[in-house]
Symmetry: C2
Subunit: 175 residues, 2 copies
């Protein structure tokens, strides 16, 4: 089972955070624009079931991702499965014809760093602002959460957010 | 709109048919084992709606294909959309989690020939027997049908079949 164990925090100062990340020995692993399109299911409401289905474009790659419901705990840990697809337009057409409904799109610039087994993402999300995501894999959620929150503390992160970018954007659209 | 205009016939003698195909100037374009897994939709019955969703493995490639309802006429013309996916296991997992249900698998050896814009497939389908499919694209279904049936006549094909391999296999399982 592929668990994505992840915590997210608001990022008040990108430059300061980048300095801290590098000072801990993290390695910069690239910067990319990510364009996500989120879908709802033809017969169940992902907003209720806390699932997600997304097509992401990043560079020349296209990724279809399913995310299961968050598993509780202090993080936003959830099952995640992804597959590379050759063309977004073709995948979108198949989802449309199967009755999936486009909900929202999220565009962000993501700067990625690696620190051991942890990915540190500094995200500038269009319409939402700047965030940091700390992510790791594995099967021991509690141990991984402790490691991620210790790292977050080292980075001076204080304001955490369990909601997804999709939820934040949908909330903002309603407000 | 990507129309797949296709007719299918039973093939009593593969060797004789192959000779006729080559004598018309068709070019052999490869032979491959195709392993298809068909799915049903979480909330509508593809048997009723005459749609299909399939994952095909062929050589090192994996293809997700959606087929719309047959459009009438004398052929099995239908809308078709496909996308390459990196791994069948990951795609199957995503479909399972979205509530799609595995219905049946079809395994065949397909020998492919090209004659102008027409693909001629000689299929040996496990559990069903030998068939010939003549397929072309385009938007003028009637014109394409006439061309395909003229070619079928040249090939000596007589017993046509509008049902899909999936339907034939499901019928056989019921009988």
């Amino acid at each position: 089972m592929a668990l994505e164990i992840e915590i997210k925090a608001y990022c008040p100062h990108i430059e300061k955070l980048r300095e801290r990340v590098l000072s801990l020995g993290a390695v910069e692993a690239g910067i990319a624009r990510e364009e996500d399109v989120y879908y709802n299911h033809p017969s169940r409401d992902f907003g209720q079931s806390d699932e997600a289905l997304r097509i992401r474009r990043i560079g020349g790659r296209n990724i279809l991702t399913y995310k299961g419901p968050r598993l509780g705990g202090r993080s936003k840990t959830r099952y995640e499965q992804e597959v590379l697809v050759s063309e977004t337009a073709e995948m979108e057409d198949i989802l449309d014809r199967l009755g999936f409904v486009r909900v929202e799109s999220i565009v962000k610039q993501r700067e990625l760093f690696r620190l051991g087994a942890v990915e540190i993402c500094i995200d500038s999300v269009e319409g939402l602002g700047d965030f940091v995501e700390l992510e790791t894999g594995g099967e021991d959620m509690v141990k991984a959460e402790n490691e991620l929150f210790a790292l977050a503390s080292n980075l001076g992160l204080e304001r955490f957010e369990r909601k997804s970018y999709l939820e934040l954007k949908l909330e903002k659209a309603k407000a």
